[in-house]
Structures are given as structure tokens and as C-alpha cells.
């Protein structure tokens, strides 16, 4: 190999630099801080189980959206038989997760998910303060 004496150390330096963030992170880093969610004070459970909501809240909200707007169906019957109005602002935000910035946003920021719900749907509490 021509210039092997330069190429091989060069490659070693390149690989070391490229891997440095991962190696440093694994050895010295503390990892990203998990999002701390503020849960509603006076409600023990969401409309469905926590696991279900964690995995499927987006599909549920999309189903709500289509049901309300396109079919005019506005009442959701949960699996435990309780009835809720299908309304993002009216039910989710006003009744439980009154601080969007401490619930929705924390997780979505952590997961780097950007939503466009709030460009139209109103968050009443947070407008004031």
C-alpha cells in the first residue's frame, strides 16, 4: 500500500472521532433525562388504560376527529362503559391535562415529534398565563 503509514493512522483517527460521541456518551454521559409528566391531580386513570393510551392516543384522537367531523358522532364509550365527549380541548385538556406544556409537550419534545393540533385547537389555560 502506498502511503500506508499515513492512511492507516488517518483512518484510526477518523474512526475514533466518529465514534467519540457514542463512546463518551456510553462511558461518561448520564443519558437524556426522561420526560417528567405532570399528571392530573384529581383523576386516577385516563379514559382507557395507561398502556393503551401511551401506545394509541394518536390513533384514538384521529378516530375521534373523523367521527366528530365527518359522522357527527360526539360521544365516546370507553371500554369500561363510561361516556366521554370526543373533544380534544373540551375533554382531554379542560378536564384533565390542563397544562399542555407539562404533559403533551414534554413527551413530544423528548421524542422530537412536532404536532399541528395546536395551530387550530385552543388551549384555554395557557393563553392567560
Amino acid at each position: 500500500m502506498y502511503d500506508g503509514g499515513k492512511i492507516i493512522p488517518g483512518l484510526v483517527v477518523f474512526v475514533a472521532l466518529a465514534l467519540a460521541p457514542m463512546l463518551l456518551g456510553a462511558t461518561l454521559g448520564q443519558g437524556a433525562t426522561k420526560p417528567q409528566l405532570t399528571l392530573p391531580a384529581d383523576e386516577k386513570s385516563c379514559i382507557e388504560s395507561t398502556d393503551y393510551m401511551r401506545a394509541n392516543h394518536m390513533q384514538l384522537l384521529v378516530a375521534w376527529r373523523d367521527q366528530v367531523v365527518r359522522d357527527g358522532q360526539r360521544t365516546y364509550v370507553a371500554s369500561d362503559g363510561k361516556e366521554y365527549e370526543m373533544s380534544l380541548t373540551g375533554t382531554c385538556i379542560q378536564q384533565c391535562h390542563t397544562k399542555k406544556s407539562e404533559f403533551c409537550d414534554r413527551c413530544h419534545d423528548y421524542a422530537s415529534v412536532s404536532l399541528n393540533c395546536w395551530s387550530c385547537h385552543v388551549v384555554p389555560e395557557e393563553q392567560k398565563g
Binding site: 384514538l60 367531523v69 357527527g72 358522532q73 360521544t75 364509550v77 387550530c120
Partner: protein, 264 residues
């Protein structure tokens, strides 16, 4: 490993079978799907076969300069206010009689004297709506009860519907509507819109679902706006239409508007 042609074909065949297995397994396993069956229509909602409105202008003109219906709609639906008329968002508004009913403003007909009077305009919720036909995303659709509605989630802002509507009942959000609104006074029960979508009167579907009459109808002290089911022979709108002479806008176009006007 040195693969001959035969081994290669075998492996390729097995791979294809293997790949086709995944969707089958997924389909059989069912996956987690959001049930759409466990939802019901709201109780206490107002329902109709075909919603319609009668605007009794003879009552409306008694109180000239009144904008109660327009203000009520503005509040109920978070409609922004912009000074620039090109950015104006209109759900319910007024125009002069001769602009609204040009064919009624000829010099020699009885209604000619009405020139200059303000006529209350809103989406006609046509029975045969051209806006619905042209919408490429079905963002505008017609409900079973005749209401022509916008699904703002689907609107891509192409404005075909604005071209198709012969009544100018649709407005485009050229600007972020929240800049023309005081958000702290916004009605939280109704979303604002976003820049780049078309909007119009929705006959207050959200109020009908709660058993309330449209905001403009409730706000009118003269009771000039009458709302109801035209297919119901006993409804107030039907009785009014059978008793009085009424006009609709541009009947020759065949869109069959469901907003009727009593002008004399």
C-alpha cells in the same frame, strides 16, 4: 459457499415465501386497532332531514344597523378581524339588495325599490353543492342532513371550492387567523383555523349537536332568522315558506340553496 443455480433458486423461492408470511401473520394477529364501533350520536342533539334557514328581511330591516347575528357568529367561531378587505373572513355578512338579487332589481319590478337595503348573507348550504363536487380531498362534504361542511383537517387550500361557489360564501385564510383574534377571549369550544385553509358558515353543527339553535338565530332579537327542517311539514321554516313569497339566490344555477329570503 459456492451456490449453483439450483441452490440459488431454492433460497430465492424460500425468501419470497418468508417475506409474504409477515403481512399474513399481522393480518391474522389483528394488531391493536382503535375501535370505531363504540361511539354514539350525542343525545339531545337537534336533527333534521334537511336543515334550512329563512331570512325574513322585512323584520331585519326594522332595526337597520344591527349586527347582532354577525357578532354572535364572530364570537362563536373565533372569526378573525382584519382591516384589509382582501384578508376578510366571512361567515355571515351583508350586501346590498341589488348585488344579492340582481334579477330582482330591474327598474320596473316591485322589488326595485329595495335597492340599497342590506341583505344578510351566509353559506346557502345548497342541496346540490358545486363546492363539494370540486374538492379534491373531500374536505368539503355534505352531511346527510344537508349541511355542507368543511373538514379543516383535510383542506389543502387549493381554493377550487371558492371558484366553484357562485355565492362568494367562502373565505381563504391568507394570514394566520390567530393574528386577527384576541386568543385570551377566544371561544375554547371551537377551534381557530390556520393559515392556508378555506372556511365558511357551518350552520353551527357544533351547537346543533348540543341541542342549541345556530348562534345567529339565537342572537337575532327581531326573530328575522328562522332555522329548521324544511322536510318537516310542521316546522316553522316550512310553514313560513308555504305562507310567504320567498327568494333564493341564483336559482337558475340549479344548486338549490337552502337559505330562503322573504323580502316583502
Amino acid at each position: 459457499m459456492r451456490a449453483d443455480r439450483r441452490t440459488f433458486m431454492k433460497i430465492a423461492g424460500l425468501t419470497v415465501v418468508g417475506l409474504s408470511l409477515r403481512p399474513t401473520v399481522d393480518a391474522l394477529a389483528g394488531g391493536e386497532q382503535v375501535e370505531s364501533a363504540n361511539q354514539t350520536a350525542p343525545t339531545g342533539a337537534l336533527t333534521a332531514k334537511r336543515w334550512a334557514m329563512v331570512v325574513d328581511e322585512t323584520k331585519c330591516w326594522k332595526d337597520s344597523g344591527c349586527t347582532d347575528c354577525i357578532e354572535a357568529c364572530r364570537k362563536a367561531h373565533n372569526i378573525p378581524t382584519f382591516d384589509d378587505p382582501k384578508s376578510e373572513i366571512k361567515w355571515i355578512w351583508t350586501e346590498q339588495f341589488e348585488e344579492v338579487f340582481p334579477e330582482q332589481a330591474q327598474r320596473l319590478v316591485a322589488t326595485a325599490s329595495l335597492a340599497g337595503k342590506p341583505v344578510t348573507l351566509l353559506c346557502n348550504h345548497c342541496q346540490n353543492p358545486p363546492c363539494v363536487k370540486v374538492c379534491p380531498t373531500q374536505a368539503t362534504f355534505q352531511r346527510a342532513d344537508g349541511i355542507v361542511m368543511m373538514d379543516e383537517h383535510r383542506c389543502i387550500g387549493c381554493r377550487y371550492c371558492m371558484v366553484a361557489c357562485p355565492f362568494g360564501a367562502r373565505s381563504f385564510n391568507f394570514r394566520d387567523p390567530r393574528t386577527g383574534l384576541d386568543l385570551s377571549k377566544a371561544n375554547p369550544d371551537f377551534p381557530t383555523r390556520t393559515r392556508g385553509v378555506v372556511e365558511k358558515c357551518n350552520f353551527c353543527v357544533e351547537r346543533l349537536a348540543k341541542g342549541q339553535m345556530p348562534a345567529c338565530v339565537d342572537a337575532c332579537e327581531e326573530k328575522a332568522l328562522v332555522f329548521g327542517d324544511v322536510e318537516d311539514r310542521n316546522s316553522e321554516v316550512r310553514k313560513l315558506l308555504e305562507a310567504r313569497l320567498s327568494l333564493v339566490r341564483r336559482p337558475e344555477l340549479g344548486t338549490e340553496p337552502q337559505v330562503y329570503y322573504i323580502v316583502s
